[in-house]
Amino acid sequence: MLRRRKWLFALLYRSTKLFDSHEIPILCQTILQRVAAGDSSAVDDCLAQYGALVWSLARRHSPNYSDAEDAVQEAFLGIWQGAARFDPEKGSETTFITTIVRRRLIDRHRKRGRQLDTASLENQPVATRENHTEQVAISEEATMVRQRMASLRPAERRVLELAISEGMSHSEIAESTSMPLGTVKTHARRGMIRLREMLEADSATRLTEAET
């Protein structure tokens, strides 16, 4: 697959003049690569493609509507600034954007220094796990991680679900599950380290398969 893509790039490189300064044919560029190359139409494409994803994440981690709006603006600033670092060989654009947005939201939450108060979002359309009529297009990596999560110990999986999907803190999880705080931390750490190892192994396997 990788070889085929490189071959296609090479063919386009020779047959068209549609290149940017990074010598990647414009037709083959991802949205983020176009943003990094200064293509202003890519801004609209990025907002159309990922706006709902960023908005959903922001609402989930913000105490109120106004804070969610600020968080989205900050998150997109991070996306524009980080676009040049996107490497399609390391993961999908969706994962890269989610990584940037989560980082910004966690930092905001830490700075705010107070717990998530979803009550103030009562009058706004709030995401609920039971109401997933349309989910973000799940990338290959996300499908893989779901399978890998199933192989974690139940307590590790539960802690990671509550932390990552529900945005709960250590102490909130401890209270909700009646686990000691130290146990919550241990489960989260072990689960994350095991997941990372499994995903890295999967990624290495895919790379080897692509090169053969």
């Binding site: 200064g38 202003s40 801004v43 609209d44 907002l47 706006g51 709902a52 994803l53 960023v54 908005w55 959903s56 994440l57 709006e69 989205v72 603006q73 997109f76 390391k90 993961g91 969706t94 994962t95 890269f96 989610t98 990584t99 989560r102 966690i106 930092d107 939450h109 359309p125 995401a127 796990r129 109401n131 997933h132 009529t133 349309e134 989910q135 973000v136 799940i138 990338s139 990596e141 996300a142 499908t143 893989m144 991680v145 779901r146 999560m149 990671l160 679900e161 932390a163 990552i164 999907s165 803190s169 931390k185 989260a188 750490r189 994350m192 380290i193 997941l195 990372r196 995903l199 890295e200």
Partner: protein
């Protein structure tokens, strides 16, 4: 019996995991920067990416679009920063 080096590596892994999932306090952030050797940016990225992939795998509701006024504001700001006149 673990060596001091192994202990510091373990602590580093714990901090990277905590950072990706929960975020770190100011003290923990300082500890992370003190412990991490050169070239560990990749390690931080990998842990953050693992958490993001996990987040996507668990499902995100995208039924509600970004509010139009907010979307227009973000787009206009970005284009202005790129040196283009917003349409």
């Amino acid at each position: 019996m673990t060596t001091p080096w192994e202990q510091s590596q373990q602590r580093l892994q714990d901090l990277l995991s905590d950072r990706a999932v929960f975020g770190l306090s100011v003290e923990e952030t300082a500890e992370l920067w003190e412990l991490q050797p050169d070239g560990w940016d990749d390690e931080i990225d990998t842990m953050d990416r693992t958490a993001a992939t996990c987040c996507l795998g668990l499902g995100i509701d995208v039924t509600d679009p970004l509010p139009t006024s907010l979307r227009n504001r973000i787009g206009a700001d970005a284009k202005r920063a790129m040196g283009c006149e917003p349409q």
